[in-house]
Structures are given as structure tokens and as C-alpha cells.
């Protein structure tokens, strides 16, 4: 048994023999700090997704508009930035965010599972579906990100694979039933992830107060719905023939 036996050293105050680690070390070594990494990277990815979803919707203005929008993305920041650099800067930031998010999720999840080694014999449903599926839903999102890049960025697995013609590539893609299934499942997973994740990030970053709690929950649900609906609109429109 490990009874608490405070020593004089435990009680000593104000005078620390060892100086405190730096801010970054304090953060990375603590559960709260790692959770902060998840929250910040999550919000970065979330902001990207809002812009990405809105951009996708340009597809409803036709092939000309959509393809012009895609080539405009490569000109952002010119002439200060070289052609296409803006996209590369975004990509580096997003890859760093995914990496930070996944590494923290992995480390924290292992720690969490170890902290509750024995399950209760009397089981009962715990927490909401969105909360319970954060880990496996996250894995689905990670796999989706890989597939999505191979499909519409590198065009490796795209059925049409015509560089510079995203409209045609997207429409060809969603004529495949398996592309639709992958996309729909991933976007449902995304909605669930954000439903829990948005309020969770607000809590982690200390933004939640007793009065503001409800507002964060509602905002998370609205964001989840809007993003899922906005992303799903494209494959559904191809499937139903609205886009061709």
C-alpha cells in the first residue's frame, strides 16, 4: 500500500531546487498540454475545412467557374509568393496539424486505457455516440485523408485523372459507387468528430464557462451539420444527376 507520508521536502515552499521546465516542455509532458495540442491542431483543421467546404460549393456554378477557382488558388499571394506556393504552405501546415493531432491522440489514448485497466462488471451505456467514437472515427478520418489525397490531389486513384480539370475529375469520381460510399461514411465520421470535438476543444483551451457552455455545444452541432451537409452535397448531386 502506498500511504501518503509527507516529508519536510514535500512541504518546502517557494524554493525549488530544480528550475521549472520551459513552457513547451511543461505542455508536452502534461496531459493538459497534449490535449491543448489536439485542440489547437483540431481548430486549425476545422478552419481549413470550413474554407474547403465553401470552395467545393463553387462546383454548382459549373465547370468554368470551378476550374478557374482551382487555378486561382495557385495564384494566391502572387507576386510576393511564387505560383503555387500558397498551397504548399497550407499543405505543410496541415500535415503538421494532422501529425500533432494524431501523435497526441495516440499517446493520450494509450495513457487513458492504462488508467482504467479493469472494466466494471456491470456495464451501462456511457456518453454520447459522438463521444464514444472519437478514436475510431479519427482513424476513419486519417484513412480518408490518405485516400482523398490519392484521389483528387495526386489523381493516383482517380478514374479520369486529368490535371487542371478538377470539375471533370470530381464528377467522374462520384459516378463510382465505392467513391460515394467512402466519401459519405467519412463525412458522417467528420460530423460526429466535430460534434464532440468543438466543445471539447473549447473546454481544453479554457474557453468554456458555466454560462457559455450551451453556446459551445450548439455551435459545435451547427458546425458539424453545416460541414457534413456542405461536403456531402457534391457526391449526392452527382449521384442524383444534378451535376454532370
Amino acid at each position: 500500500m502506498r500511504w501518503c507520508r509527507p516529508t519536510v521536502a514535500d512541504m518546502a515552499l517557494a524554493t525549488r531546487a530544480v528550475p521549472r521546465p520551459s513552457t513547451l516542455a511543461t505542455l508536452w509532458r502534461s496531459t493538459i498540454g497534449k490535449k491543448t495540442v489536439m485542440a489547437v491542431t483540431g481548430v486549425v483543421m476545422l478552419l481549413f475545412l470550413v474554407a474547403h467546404m465553401l470552395g467545393n460549393l463553387k462546383i454548382f456554378f459549373g465547370a468554368g467557374d470551378y476550374n478557374a477557382y482551382a487555378s486561382w488558388l495557385r495564384t494566391i499571394g502572387e507576386p510576393a509568393l511564387h505560383h503555387g506556393w500558397f498551397l504548399w504552405i497550407m499543405r505543410v501546415g496541415l500535415v503538421a496539424s494532422v501529425a500533432g493531432h494524431v501523435v497526441s491522440a495516440w499517446q493520450l489514448s494509450r495513457r487513458d486505457l492504462a488508467a482504467r485497466p479493469t472494466a466494471y462488471v456491470h456495464r451501462r451505456p456511457r456518453a454520447s455516440y459522438a463521444t464514444r467514437t472519437m478514436r475510431w472515427g479519427g482513424v476513419i478520418l486519417a484513412l480518408f485523408i490518405v485516400w482523398h489525397i490519392l484521389d483528387l490531389t495526386t489523381l493516383t486513384v482517380n478514374p479520369r485523372a486529368e490535371p487542371g480539370h478538377p470539375y471533370e475529375n470530381v464528377v467522374a469520381d462520384f459516378h463510382n459507387w465505392y467513391a460515394d460510399v467512402i466519401y459519405l461514411v467519412a463525412m458522417l465520421a467528420l460530423g460526429l468528430h466535430i460534434r464532440h470535438g468543438f466543445r471539447s476543444a473549447a473546454q481544453t483551451l479554457g474557453a468554456v464557462t458555466r454560462r457559455g457552455d450551451r453556446a459551445f455545444r450548439i455551435a459545435g452541432n451547427v458546425l458539424a451539420l453545416v460541414l457534413t451537409a456542405g461536403f456531402v452535397a457534391v457526391p449526392v448531386s452527382v449521384m442524383t444527376g444534378v451535376l454532370n
Binding site: M1, W3, A14, I32, K35, D112, R124, R199, L205, T209
Partner: protein, 248 residues
């Protein structure tokens, strides 16, 4: 009233345990859950068996010693401590599962008794204010704003029973630690140690092997004293602020 109890029996810290079934008769609705267990234990003693070991002290819901998971819920179906849970919340003929708090940081000592001294060490790491001893200070020397006093009082209600850890799927002690940090950090008396308190208490909490927070909210539902979930956000705020300042 008659109940079928399935209780976790484990003779020692390293021994194997198992759920053991007992029939208990003659339970009055006004009995507390602990009195019901006393009834069972009297019988076990007269039959020459080992009584069921459980922690208890005040039996009036203020010490935090009692605590067991009843039908999968910390302290059972009502928002109160096990000692204040009355048998009228159960129906004649019910089967009731009774298990100890489950968390790596709360090892089972025997039956339903767990070692919660990890909480004591978290308190030891910073859950105090440093004051000079001697005569009582002048009451008006340190004015405390009313909202701060209310917040401090609400969080001081935490009795350290460990229900939050027991209820959390990650065995996390965030709600407990946040209650202690918020209680002292909101007061002017706690201000001089504001940063070191939260850094040291969170450091100790992590070192004890408690899990992290995934914001499931189970802790705040289980808390017999109603410590609210946003208190964890308040502690996160204090922690991030202190980490930024990286004090000595």
C-alpha cells in the same frame, strides 16, 4: 424488502477477486446502503465468514470515505454519497451489483476498499495556501469579492470521494483536481501560489497515473457535490496561463 447482491470480493491487493452473490432479506426502505451492507455483514460474521470490507466514516455525506460503484454508477442511482443513498431507491427483488472504484491510481486494498492516497499526494503538491501561523488574521485585512467567495465555497464542497475518477472511462482525476485548484486560485489568499499550485497539482495528478480528460462529462454527473464540468475548463485556463508564465 429482499435483494440479491453481487459484490466484488477480493481478499487482498494482489489476490484475485470475483463477484459473489448474497441474498439479503429484511431490508427497510429507510436504511442507507451502508446499513444494508451492515445487515449483511452481521449475518456473515455470525456464519463465520469474512465481512465485506468497505470504507466509511461520517455516514452523513461529508467525509468522502464511502464510495462504491452500484449498478455501474459511482455512489448508485442518486446524486449523493453511498452513505446517504437510501434503500427506497431500490425495488423488492432487485439484483444489485456492487464493485470498488476502478482506476489504476486507486488500487484495490480489499473487497470494496481502494487506496485513494493518490488524492492526498495531489493535495500535498499544492492544495493549500501558505499562511503565517500565530493569531487569527484580522477578518477585514483581505477583502474577498462575493462572487469569488461563492465560487470558492462551491468548489470547497468537494469531499475527495473519488466518484469522478470511478465514473470516468479514462480514470481521470481532472474534476477533483480542478475543484481544488479553482477553490484556492479564485481567492486572494491563494494568489501568491496561483501558478505553482496548478502546475504542481497537475504534475502530481499525471504522475499518479490518472488518465486524461476526453470531456465525456461522466465525472460531473457522478459527483455527489455537483462540481460542474466547466470547472475543468477553468483549471485548463489556469494551467495554460501558468505554463505561459513558466514561473520558478
Amino acid at each position: 424488502m429482499r435483494l440479491t447482491l453481487r459484490i466484488w470480493r477480493q481478499p487482498g491487493p494482489d489476490a484475485d477477486g470475483a463477484m459473489t452473490t448474497y441474498e439479503v432479506d429484511g431490508i427497510a426502505p429507510e436504511m442507507s446502503f451502508l446499513e444494508m451492507l451492515d445487515t449483511l455483514n452481521e449475518r456473515l460474521i455470525t456464519e463465520g465468514e469474512d465481512p465485506v470490507a468497505f470504507d466509511h466514516d461520517c455516514r452523513e455525506g461529508i467525509c468522502g470515505a464511502c464510495g462504491m460503484v452500484i449498478n455501474g454508477r459511482a455512489h448508485g442511482p442518486e446524486r449523493t454519497t453511498t452513505c446517504q443513498l437510501h434503500m427506497r431507491h431500490f425495488a423488492d427483488g432487485d439484483t444489485v451489483d456492487v464493485e470498488p472504484w476502478r482506476a489504476a491510481a486507486f488500487p484495490v486494498v480489499r473487497d470494496l476498499v481502494v487506496d485513494r492516497s493518490a488524492f492526498d499526494r495531489i493535495i500535498g503538491a499544492g492544495g493549500y495556501v501558505t499562511v503565517p501561523t500565530g493569531s487569527a488574521p484580522e477578518a477585514h485585512a483581505t477583502p474577498v469579492p462575493k462572487p469569488a467567495a461563492d465560487t470558492a465555497f462551491e468548489h470547497a464542497e468537494c469531499i475527495g470521494c473519488g466518484a469522478c475518477v470511478a465514473a470516468c472511462p479514462n480514470g481521470s482525476a481532472m474534476l477533483f483536481t480542478s475543484a481544488k485548484v479553482v477553490h484556492l486560485n479564485v481567492l486572494p489568499q491563494g494568489a501568491p501560489e496561483r501558478e505553482s499550485r496548478v502546475l504542481d497539482m497537475v504534475g502530481q495528478m499525471d504522475a499518479e497515473g490518472f488518465g486524461g480528460c476526453t470531456n465525456t462529462g461522466e465525472c460531473a454527473v457522478a459527483c455527489p457535490k455537483g462540481i460542474p464540468l466547466p470547472s475543468i475548463a477553468a483549471m485548463n485556463r489556469e494551467f495554460l496561463r501558468a505554463a505561459r508564465k513558466a514561473p520558478r
